[in-house]
Amino acid sequence: MAKVMIVDDAAFMRMVIKDILSKNGHEVVGEAVDGLDAVQKYSELKPDVVFMDIVMPNMEGTEALTKIMGMDPNAKVIMCSSIGQQSVVTEAITAGAQDFIIKPFDATKVLEALNNVI
């Protein structure tokens, strides 16, 4: 079981990931609606793992990732990406992302990614 924070500007996407995780015994300790929110909540909630969307208002996922890695070099961040964002994902990996998953989310892959990092 892991304590997870979900970052996505779409409530719908958060709901989908949240359901997948909680149905499999993980605890979603927080949700953030954009990068800024994520950075702030990360330091408050100290989740084991963060699922981070990339394209978001206010602060994009990659920037939030960099900030979080800066605060906690051991942070485990899984990027949530769409097809066609290869370069951004690669950039995120360079910045320290542990793994990434691709929309549309498939429950097994979400769990696989999570199990790989915890």
């Binding site: 304590k3 500007d9 779409a10 409530a11 719908f12 996407m13 709901m15 989908v16 997948i20 300790v29 927080g30 949700e31 909540k41 408050e44 909630l45 100290k46 989740p47 084991d48 969307d53 394209v55 978001m56 208002p57 906690d72 051991n74 942070a75 485990k76 990406s81 769409s82 097809i83 066609g84 964002q85 290869q86 994902v89 690669t90 990996i93 360079t94 542990q98 793994d99 990434f100 998953i101 691709i102 929309k103 549309p104 989310f105 498939d106 429950a107 892959k109 696989e112 990614a113 790989n116 990092v117």
Partner: protein
């Protein structure tokens, strides 16, 4: 995964994103260079794409993907946002709206043409970029050529046929002297993987965390450019044992397998002994105890989405609760005891608070329906070749959801009227000495217990003379009657059924729904409509709406043994009259009240309840307003003013009942009908 349970959430949120796209696009049409809106469109399209793909709505996903591509080009300045692109994007939005609406209904919207169109727009800009990429990769290939032949012996799982360069050989030599093993790892990626390059980047990063990558096949550049199929091989110098290497590399999602073999360099003659290095660098996925400590300060969620039916139910229950409270109050007062006084006054306060809270929770910002109008006005103005500056004020004003749902159509009608009949074409406006751009203002503000919505334009206004003529032509009234009306009364003629002020019927308005429909809808909600207009200056239409419809202030009246509720919004005043003052004009009972003729209606007759055998000398009249006219209703007794909770008559049997807006339950448990003045008289 069964996604049907997410459909409502998907629809609700999609509509928000569509709205955002619409708004941003409208802004961009005005300021094509506005990066903020370009970015926000890109984001909204992107988010929508992800959501649709998750739900399996491929058409929506494809269309939004196309939009995202297009916006990305715009963002990177490789496409200029011109009218053809903006129009295409608007077309996309229309299709998306249709698609989102038809979700689940099985209706398909054909978007192949549109996709093709977007494809072309994107391609027209990308030729140049492709050329750049091409030349890059040529360079990297050339760099990789210089190699010296070295025989390699490969064992176990994977065969690597590779010739190392001088530099590489040197590295290998150094590494083996340091006690590292040279391992070739063949990484096989799952065939469902989409971003293979990013996947390989993860593996490469993990690999470099435990060792030194000497060679990658294909080259790292090619991996980055996704120039490989489902597998690639890394030659790694590491102090880790085989098992650690394998688990480190395989511990990346979508990696199907990793096959390893130790490479023995024949010409360097190093041993193939694997050192058991225990004290090594942290592997990327290594365990980590620091994060196990957690604080319990989980911040609560600030808002939740609630189905409107829930809120309706809640409102109903609050209504019942209040009725019951009144009942208890009544029964306790009949008992003549005061032991319960304190408890009852607490109950009173609590129920009032619950009522207010529930009512507040049903309030929605009016911006939710206002936001769809800029697009509509823009489209209308474009088809009619008019220039219109559309201003919205008071988006944050809140109204009950039910009221909000009902006023959309009337507002559409009023705005269309203004664009269609009100605001003149640019040439005409210049002739009249006005600016060529007309102003149309939609504003909302709160006034005591109601919300005022105004639609105001600076167009041609209404000419009383034309209105009189049209009224006579349409048979609404005779010439003589029309001439008798004052100019301000003439304007109210637009509310008469069958009246349309349009000089010519256009495609846009003047068909079917008229101002009478607007008025009856607003009155049904317990509101009212007023018009001000001046020829060549413009018109202003004002809607006054109650904050909520679930609870209304009513005047309770008695007829025989029955109690009825008259909505206070219809009541002008009550008066006592003498039966002997009633006169009869054209078989209609009237009375002279405040120097005006007031038609009288005996509610007994209207509702078919027995009339009192003998008229009393003193009669009680409730003066109500209908379509701007006052009418007196004769009742037996006034019982006072009271808040009543409306239970609508919307069952199959009762839904067509005329004359009643609904029913309410009184404190003593009996039912009282609520009169609907608009359909009763």
């Amino acid at each position: 995964m069964d996604m049907s349970e997410y459909k409502d959430a998907f629809n609700a949120e999609s509509e928000e994103h569509l709205q955002e796209l619409n708004n941003s696009l409208l802004e961009l049409e005005q300021n094509p260079g506005d990066m903020e809106h370009i970015n926000s469109m890109f984001r909204a399209a992107h988010t929508l794409k992800g959501m649709a793909a998750t739900m399996g709505f491929t058409t929506i996903a494809e269309l939004t993907h196309g939009m995202e591509d297009l916006m990305d080009k715009v963002r990177k300045h490789s496409i200029l946002l011109d009218t053809s692109i903006i129009d295409t994007l608007f077309e996309c939005l229309d299709n998306l709206e249709a698609l989102v609406e038809s979700v689940g209904s099985g209706d398909e919207v054909d978007v192949s043409n549109l996709k093709h169109k977007m494809q072309k727009l994107v391609e027209s800009s990308s030729n140049e970029e492709d050329a750049n990429i091409e030349s890059d990769s040529v360079k990297t290939d050339q760099e990789a050529i210089k190699e010296s032949p070295v025989e390699v012996d490969v064992e176990v799982d994977v065969e690597v046929d590779v010739e190392f360069t001088d530099v590489e050989n040197e590295e290998i030599g150094d590494a083996t002297k340091n006690g590292s093993t040279i391992i070739a790892a063949k990484v096989i990626i799952d065939d469902s993987c989409v971003l293979k390059a990013a996947r390989s980047a993860l593996v490469v990063r993990n690999a470099s965390n435990i060792g030194n990558i000497i060679r990658s096949i294909p080259s790292l550049n090619d991996l980055e450019d996704e120039k490989f199929d489902l597998e690639f091989t890394l030659v790694l110098a590491t102090k880790e044992d085989m098992e650690t290497v394998r688990s480190t590399l395989v511990k990346v999602s979508e990696i199907k397998d990793v096959l390893l073999s130790v490479i023995k360099m024949e010409d360097t003659g190093t041993e193939d002994e694997v050192e058991d290095a225990t004290n090594t660098k942290d592997s990327a996925s290594g365990g980590n105890t620091e994060n196990a400590k957690k604080t319990d300060t989980v911040k609560s969620i600030q808002s939740v989405r609630v189905n409107i039916e829930r809120l309706d139910n809640l409102m109903n229950l609050v209504g019942e609760l209040i009725i019951n409270k009144i009942r208890i109050n009544q029964q306790v007062s009949e008992l003549g005891t005061n032991v319960l006084d304190e408890a009852l006054s607490d109950l009173d306060r609590l129920t009032n608070e619950i009522q207010t809270e529930v009512m507040e929770s049903r309030m929605v910002p009016i911006g939710q329906i206002f936001s769809r109008f800029p697009r509509m006005v823009r489209d209308l103005a474009k088809t009619e070749e008019k220039k219109i500056d559309f201003i919205i004020e008071g988006k944050d004003i809140e109204l009950d959801r039910t009221v909000l749902d009902e006023i959309g159509d009337p507002l559409v009608h009023l705005l269309r009227n203004s664009v269609d009949h009100g605001i003149e074409g640019p040439e005409k406006r210049i002739q009249l000495g006005k600016s060529d751009t007309g102003t149309l203002k939609l504003s909302a503000y709160r006034l005591r217990n109601s919300v005022i919505i105004e639609v105001e334009d600076d167009g041609k206004g209404m000419d009383p003379a034309i209105l009189r003529r049209v009224a006579v032509d349409k048979g609404v009234m005779s010439r003589a009657e029309a001439d008798k009306l004052s100019d301000s009364d003439v304007i109210n003629l637009i509310f008469a059924p069958g009246f349309s002020g349009a000089e010519k019927v256009t495609d846009v308005s003047g068909r079917g729904v008229g101002m009478d429909a607007v008025r009856s809808k607003i009155e049904k909600l317990g509101g009212s409509v007023t018009v001000e207009s001046e020829a060549d200056k413009g018109s202003k239409i004002q809607l006054q709406l109650p904050l909520t419809v679930a609870i209304i202030q009513s005047l309770m009246v008695r007829l025989n043994d029955e109690v009825y509720a008259v909505p206070l919004s219809n009541v002008v005043r009550d008066v006592g009259i003498n039966a002997s003052d009633i006169k009869t004009i054209e078989r209609q009972e009237v009375i002279i009240h405040r120097e005006k003729v007031l038609p009288l209606i005996r509610l007994h007759n209207l509702l078919h309840t027995p009339t009192p055998a003998k008229d009393k000398e003193k009669l009680i009249v409730v003066v109500v307003e209908k379509m701007g006219n006052n009418i007196g209703l004769i009742v037996d007794e006034l019982l006072g003013q009271q808040e009543v909770i409306i239970k609508t008559l919307d069952s199959n049997i009762l839904k067509d009942t005329k004359g009643f807006a609904g029913a309410t339950i009184l404190g003593n448990g009996s039912v009282a009908l609520i009169l609907d003045i608009a359909t009763l008289i």
